[in-house]
Symmetry: C2
């Protein structure tokens, strides 16, 4: 290993339990024993009263330890042999990230181990599949600097543009024309960049307009509200909503008429529009979105298969609705997650078309 | 590689884009070229109209292909050299799992490659940290068959018990006494096993009693409802709830008195209890749970730090509340997720103590 690479970085296996073996295994590989660092054990004791965590204070004698400010497991930077460095970090993402940014990066800079700079720029897309997006951008994938890496998650696609250079400005200059080209070809499919999410773009749009939003959720059971509430400062815009899971609640609290429920059923464009209008009235919001659908695994009928989901949108510009049939292979929670993403994207496009 | 292992299994890199290189890289390693399988391309064309997916129909000449029933990327089973098998599967978890269970496992059984059976049994814990749990069970971790592997996620701990034997019954017999021992030592901290989740145990408890549940969520914004709605058949029990993000909604829709909000603020035991009682009345549910807290990053005051979350519970047995101070290091979404887990666990213990 040490002939091919100058640095080996490991994550995970630094916990207190017997299957956490990273430090021991690395030491064994270099015939080195572990020694307790008394100061570190004192520090860990302040965070837990569990004796089994003591093993987290053991390191090779000449290893530099990395303080874990948010958990109990310290990491280490160790040169077991010349020109080869091993860096261990915990697997918990928040702890790993904090130690990476606050300790490892500055250490590598100081040791002049970071010769080239990489700048990454993320672009996010909804309402388009990875294949469809790739087809629009096929020739751009040949680019070597910056590179473009597509990454698909459930209902969304991400492109990561990465440029390499010796300084920040140059790398950003390499990326910018590519961003413009991609935006031109993908238009409204591209909903945001870097720290954006579908929910944050909606919160930002409505905050700029000084307007408010509420939701009425049936099959997603609160997932849409949770996605909006995840955005810092969501309360500027998001008033709340109804989780109207049962029909009686749709009728008694949201204000959907019994006749409409009786005639069309809860999973219908008529009812989802009435849910959007009813919740907007009750919450006195400028905009509202409602979702009603069949997440399964049971409950389908002849005209209403599992995966059928309706989206209702209401605002002073009028009420509208759309529908989507998700494949039942995504399962109940998959259909719920896809419905949240689709709902947010429908809402985004609805606002953009009227803003 | 092939001297140490008989089978190499890869996941991912079977997609249509230029960075999906798994099949090509494996073929290169054995100086083999890829050939198109016309039948496979016909099959893929039925699922997408994107031409770039054609590369997913290319395989080494003598490779057995694995049909992907839910996506476009087929996998393969290939013996590039004697006594060494490479199995490629897509990275999308649902596709990978389906192909693994329906094709790879039967194939391995037929080839008598599965000599020993492994049985795994999962146990789930809430309200206890991984360290605390490990301390209760420290001596049991020495067990070699079954083995016990702890795994901590945000707010929960999982133990995976794995037994090895030549037949199913024997492995289960090895595991059962250990399950009993762990349950005895952990009591109510253990909330479920295998397919259980915190939400499913609550749905099951209330379904047995023929009773209903509603929620009132402030800082979690719908996350609690979404966790309950994720359970198949949740509608037997879960009526819905209020996402009462703004104070005016707490007052006008949930029925919290303006005086109470004025005197104690929205993040208080008084208001969270009034939210629980108000929503239970409006939804005419047997049980209710309310959450109000500060998820941050802004909004703290002298007596109310970021991470302070109150839980209100109401039922015919009376109204009660509890509070928790989560570390702000978890960030906004971390505090929201921890609040959902804590809320579900509080509700579970509240029901169990009264059932």
């Amino acid at each position: 290993i040490s002939k091919r690479s100058a640095i080996l970085i490991t994550t995970g296996g630094l916990g207190p339990t017997p299957d956490d073996l990273t430090t021991q295994a690395i030491a064994n590989a270099f015939n080195t024993s572990l020694e307790e660092r008394p100061g570190i054990w004192d520090n860990i004791k302040q965070k837990t009263n569990s004796l089994i965590n003591r093993k987290q204070a053991f390191f090779p004698k000449d290893a530099l330890t990395i303080t874990n400010n948010t958990g109990t497991a310290p990491g280490m930077i160790w040169n077991p042999i010349e020109d080869f460095t091993i860096i261990t970090l915990p697997g918990v993402p928040s702890e790993m990230k904090e130690m990476w940014e606050n300790f490892v990066i500055p250490w590598m800079k100081e040791k002049k181990l970071l010769k080239e700079k990489f700048i990454s720029h993320n672009m996010y897309f909804a309402g388009i599949s990875e294949s469809e997006l790739s087809q629009k951008l096929n020739d751009l994938f040949e680019s070597k600097n910056p590179t473009i890496a597509p990454y698909a998650t459930l209902g969304e696609v991400q492109l990561r543009l990465t440029a390499k250079s010796t300084d920040n400005i140059n790398a950003q200059e390499l990326i910018n024309p590519l961003i413009d080209k991609i935006k031109e070809r993908t238009d409204l499919f591209c909903y945001g960049e870097n720290k954006d999410s579908l929910a944050s773009t909606i919160i930002d749009l409505l905050r700029q307009r000084g307007e408010t939003l509420c939701v009425a959720e049936s099959c997603t059971g609160g997932g849409l509200g949770a996605a909006l509430a995840a955005i810092p400062g969501a309360s500027d815009v998001f008033l709340g909503g109804f989780i109207s899971y049962s029909n009686s609640i749709k009728e008694n609290l949201v204000g959907v008429s019994a006749a409409l429920l009786q005639k069309h059923g809860a999973v219908s464009t008529q009812v989802v529009e009435a849910m959007a209008t009813g919740s907007r009235n009750k919450f006195q919001a400028n905009w509202s979105i409602a979702i009603s659908g069949l997440a399964g695994p049971t409950g389908e009928s002849q005209n209403k298969p599992i995966g059928l989901v309706h989206f209702g949108l209401d605002s002073p510009f009028g009420c509208t609705s759309s529908s989507k049939l998700f494949s039942p292979r995504h399962g109940r929670t998959g259909i719920q997650k896809l419905s949240v993403i689709q709902g947010l994207n429908e809402l985004r496009l609805y606002i953009l078309a009227r803003a």
